[in-house]
């Protein structure tokens, strides 16, 4: 116990003596964790949104009130692009609209008649041919309007892929930079204390005793970076989240209302950040010690 507090004190005092370098490593580590963490959040959120919208990737075929809906169904089914046709009656359509705009139900209560036309929701097998399909559906007798979904899923998928690549690239490059910086900090600390270290060896201090303060130093910088970047992530993520939730009506329809709430994962995120920071700190310290503190 006596020893542990002594070693901790040595580690902390080393951070202070070496504060410029410690601060530099803290900043780099923080930026690294922050960027990687934010990319992670975007990736996860995109996944959630994709799950929500992939089944919304349907073409809406609105029909006249007096159209021959069975005939139209046969025509649609005979089209080689079509894989699925789903009927939505005007009543169902109105219901789902009411559900989507829960906050403004009074809008619907005062309607003199049901404005929703009978609709077929059509899924096609090749989203690239969506324009062709729309053209073909439009000329069917009894169809008055065809709505193609914008390629929202594809758009989200692109975002996710981009952030996956960016996230991994950041993780690798900034991770390496962090480790190098930490290793350099350790090297400088070892150098500053070389005389003490030589004496410790002479008088019989164990290797772990000699090394522990440097570990404490590296891990503390790592943990502090974890904590700092967690706070920054929280501020940034919640800021952006706030932007979306203000216009939730629209985003909700696109599955945005399901994205991760920071407060739900705050503790887990803090743990992951601190663990990652401490790990980077430990790796940097070990690398440096095995090179500059051969025992």
């Amino acid at each position: 116990m006596n020893n542990l507090s002594y070693l901790l004190k040595q580690g902390f005092s080393s951070i202070w003596k070496n504060r410029l370098m410690s601060f530099a490593s803290l900043c780099i580590l923080t930026v690294c964790l922050l960027l990687v963490g934010l990319s992670g959040f975007v990736m996860l959120d995109c996944g959630i949104i994709l799950d929500n919208v992939s089944d919304k990737n349907e073409i809406s075929v609105y029909m006249e009130d007096d159209a021959d809906i069975n005939h139209i169904k046969d025509v649609l089914n005979s089209n080689t692009l079509v894989t699925k046709v789903r009927y939505i009656s005007p009543e169902e359509g109105l219901e789902s609209m009411k559900n989507q705009y829960k906050d403004q139900t009074e809008l619907f209560e005062s309607l003199p008649y049901n404005p929703v036309p009978p609709t077929y929701m059509v899924t096609i097998n090749d989203l690239d041919k969506i324009d062709m399909a729309v053209g073909q559906f439009q000329v069917i007798q009894g169809v008055y309007k065809v709505n193609a979904p914008m390629d929202f899923a594809g758009f989200i998928e692109d975002i996710r892929n981009t952030f996956t690549i960016v996230g991994i690239a950041l993780m690798l490059s900034l991770g390496a930079v962090s480790i190098i910086i930490i290793a350099n900090t350790t090297r400088i600390s070892v150098f500053a204390r070389r005389k003490e270290i030589a004496i410790m060896r002479i008088v019989g201090a164990t290797n772990s005793f000699i090394r522990t303060p440097f570990f404490v130093e590296g891990m503390t910088v790592g943990l502090l970076s974890g904590f700092t970047s967690w706070i920054l992530t929280k501020v940034i993520y919640e800021g952006v989240f706030g932007l979306f939730s203000e216009s939730l009506g629209m985003w909700g329809a696109l599955g945005m209302d399901n994205i991760i709430k920071f407060s739900d994962v705050a503790v887990q995120t803090l743990l992951v950040y601190c663990a990652a920071g401490a790990l980077l700190g430990a790796i940097g310290t070990v690398l440096s010690m095995s090179k500059h503190l051969k025992i």
């Binding site: 020893n3 002594y6 004496i199 008088v203 019989g204 164990t206």
Partner: protein, 228 residues
Amino acid sequence: MVELKNVSVHYKEGVDALSNVNLRIEKGEFVFIVGDSGAGKSTLLKLITREITPTEGRVFVNGYNLTNIKKSKIPYFRRSVGMIFQDFRLIDNLNVYDNVAFVMRVTGQSKRDIRHRVPYVLDLVKLTDRAKAYPNKLSGGEMQRVAIARAFASDPGLIIADEPTANIDPGLSYDIVRLLREINKCGTTVVMVTHEHSLVEYFGGRLISLKSGEIIFDDVVGGAGEDE
């Protein structure tokens, strides 16, 4: 206590620092080692402290076989040996008291032991009133006395001193040797390397003389001064 059997040390650069040295030092002895510069004196001491291993032969110290000691055991072996150097090797930003306490702390001794032992050894080297002073405020003689206090702090059975009087005023060399002899009286074995023949002539005792890596003399010689 210390035993070297057919020991040779060849440094990589083709230097034969020691050739076929045989040596035995018993518990409680006080031994002077002399020799010209480059004779191999420091090399001999480094073997005893396990800073280096012999190219040939075997080294035993304090019951440890240093030829095949495990790396993890070396720190524990070192605790049984006190070392003193000509350049003192004190920590500049620690005062006298803390320089001595430092070695006890890093070898895991309790606060209570430290509080008892440090004043005792500082009294022994007559530095009680300098306990709060920092190394840069001390004379060479005082610094070496701190180093002796430090070496003696964990009560090792063996003290190794490599030219401890080389960097202090000649007149004060005698005080340093007297101090080491006092420690020796308490039962600690002392091995001291020096190139000051006057010290040996004055104090006498067992003398080992090295030349070009070989022992050319090993016997007890009489001293001119203080016989007690």
